[in-house]
Point group: C2
Chain length 376, copies 2
């Protein structure tokens, strides 16, 4: 690594817009901060530094993010006197495998990783899940810090402590629960993702708003265009609120025994659509379609069609898809749902935005609905 640049030790000037949020996430096994700021400057280095005393730092990232942000982060941490190595994997879902984890184990072990060291996950959901999995299993677990660079990762993957790699039999079927030391979100990082990724991430905001917060749902409806354009105030407001809502749910149900199932809204059918599309859809796009389909199913059970209408209008406003290609749905993936209990699944049902019920639904009935819906 290059010698530290002394200029980097100087704190950056205050961000032009002082959008800041700090949340404290508490679970039975850990407490940590989620910080959201405008820039990716000195506060980020301070926060990583404070969260990982005495650790050597292994930055895990993907090649796309590495080109954008890894150099600045590495130099700034080295400038702070930290020992840092950088490890990058190809961008995309294809890296979220045991094989890639195995290569990272090798790299970290070769570098002499210790129990007291820490992983910094710099990237989107794939990097966060993969880096979290590696951190939780190498030497039976070392610390990790999440620095999400996509909206999806900021909202979803960085809170809850879920880590995962994919199996040839389905997504996220191998993983652990491992709480990070801190989650550090910079709008400056988020603004470099591509628009399609960003919109897909906003689908997870829609998900938590639909199940838990009518006001947040209305705010996303109102500010959809500004959100797509990364307008600082609405963006950090809605992400912070979504993270806060998720943290509350996760804090009450760390190991996914009960209430946390509401976070699964749109995911049961969404995973089947995603798997049927062979991962050509982004996760958030599939979740949006899954929410629409699950809302339509609720209508067949006597629910109001209003929810379908508002979800559909919001999907359009956020440039998210509202239909999937016929015959491209993997009903087998429904049977592999992790939340399956025997022949049933606990499905979150939204009677109106901001409220949710959990209903035990037969997988067969759900699969047959999806099949009919897909055929039309």
């Amino acid at each position: 690594l290059a010698p530290p640049d002394p200029a980097l030790k100087i704190k950056t000037a205050p961000a032009p817009e002082p959008v800041e949020r700090r949340l404290c996430v508490t679970t039975p096994s850990a407490t940590y901060n989620v910080e959201l700021r405008h820039d990716a400057g000195a506060w980020l280095i301070d926060a990583i530094d404070a969260a990982t005393p005495n650790a050597r730092l292994f930055i895990l990232t993907d090649q796309t993010v590495a080109a954008l942000h890894a150099d600045a982060l590495t130099r700034a941490l080295v400038g702070r006197g930290r020992q840092v190595t950088l490890h990058s994997v190809p961008a995309g879902e294809g890296s979220k495998t045991l094989e890639t984890a195995s290569r990272l184990y090798d790299e970290l072990l070769l570098a002499g990783v210790c129990r007291t060291d820490a992983v910094v996950a710099l990237g989107g959901g794939v990097v966060g899940d993969l880096a979290g999995f590696v951190a939780s299993t190498i030497l039976r677990g070392i610390r990790s810090v999440q620095v999400p660079t996509t909206t999806l990762a900021a909202v979803d993957a960085s809170v809850g402590g879920k880590t995962a790699v994919n199996s040839p039999r389905g997504k996220n079927l191998i993983g652990t629960f491992h709480q990070p030391q801190a989650v550090l979100i910079a709008r400056e990082h988020l603004a470099t993702q591509n628009p399609r990724q960003h919109a897909a991430g906003l689908a997870e905001v829609v998900k938590i708003a639909a199940t838990s917060d009518a006001l947040l749902f209305e705010r996303v409806e109102r500010d959809a265009k500004a959100l797509l354009e990364f307008a600082p105030q609405p963006l950090l407001d809605v992400i912070a609120r979504a993270v806060e809502l998720k943290a509350l749910v996760v804090g009450r149900d760390e190991r996914e025994q009960g209430e946390r199932a509401i976070l699964n809204y749109g995911h049961t059918i969404g995973h089947a659509i995603e798997s049927g599309e062979r991962f050509r859809l982004l996760h958030g796009e599939a979740v949006m379609l899954g929410m629409l389909a699950e809302a339509e199913w609720a209508v067949t059970q006597g629910g109001s069609p209003k929810v379908v209408e508002r979800l559909s209008a919001l999907a359009k406003a956020l440039a998210l898809p509202t239909s999937w290609t016929a015959a491209r749905i993997d009903l087998g993936a429904l049977a592999l749902d992790k939340k399956r209990q025997g022949e049933e699944v606990r499905l979150p049902v939204v009677p109106k935005p901001g409220t949710v019920e959990l209903r035990n639904v037969s997988l067969e009935a759900l699969a047959s609905f999806v099949q009919r819906r897909t055929a039309t």
Copy 2:
């Protein structure tokens, strides 16, 4: 699976010798029972049944153990109305890899494993570590029951919640902490292991006695011959006591931050010897050699040679090796020690049997001692 044999529902007659022990292990994240009995009859089925309500059971074992015990266990569980599938891997350390774990993930996912299901680990340390790792990472963790069939696994691997697979860079470098629902030890299972395996397992009893219990150390000295012959009373007495001592240490230090380091006695140099011998030594044999070497090192630091004498006499009485082949020690493995802290390791030192101190020792000094010792 064959239909249940109704005769199996009848409780077996009381075991001829009523050697029984039940211990309760408490850690911050879990509480579970360790039961030790003479036979492998109805009590074992009762205990598995009670520990895994509503679960489908996936018995993970190796081909050697499968031939001896899997059929009886499977039939008895099916007779109790449980859904059971059997999954076996080749016997030996070679199965303790990410690749084997990956194959087991596939088998369990293909069988439709749910969060509410459970893994039964039937076998020695390799099966216990591998099955525990798979259980802790599939669907982000399902329940497990440990049924150790070797002395090593009974004493060591079944308490403490450590799971692991090996990396090409060293043993146990990938793993998790995952507490089982129960640990169920039958002398009838232990008695089918080969004598060399059994003796190696007793080395772990020697380890915990040396660091924590002078009376247990004397008992092993006195009953060495009877222990090697699987005499029921001394065997279950010393295993129960060793498990109890280990459970106390682990209960006070679940995540291996402090005191638990005493369980590492003999392991720092032991791992280097084991790795240098390319796994031709059994783990317990390497630990015995490691204890001898670490005790000899303590003498160079002013310790009493009496500990070396008693350990050496005990090793001979237990048919364990007391010397290793020159030049067959992997000093690089010392540097990979998971308990390494920078350039030092916290080494347990035994001034006399039953007492222990933790000392920070420079890896370089230790490596140079081992090198001199090996050269002579």
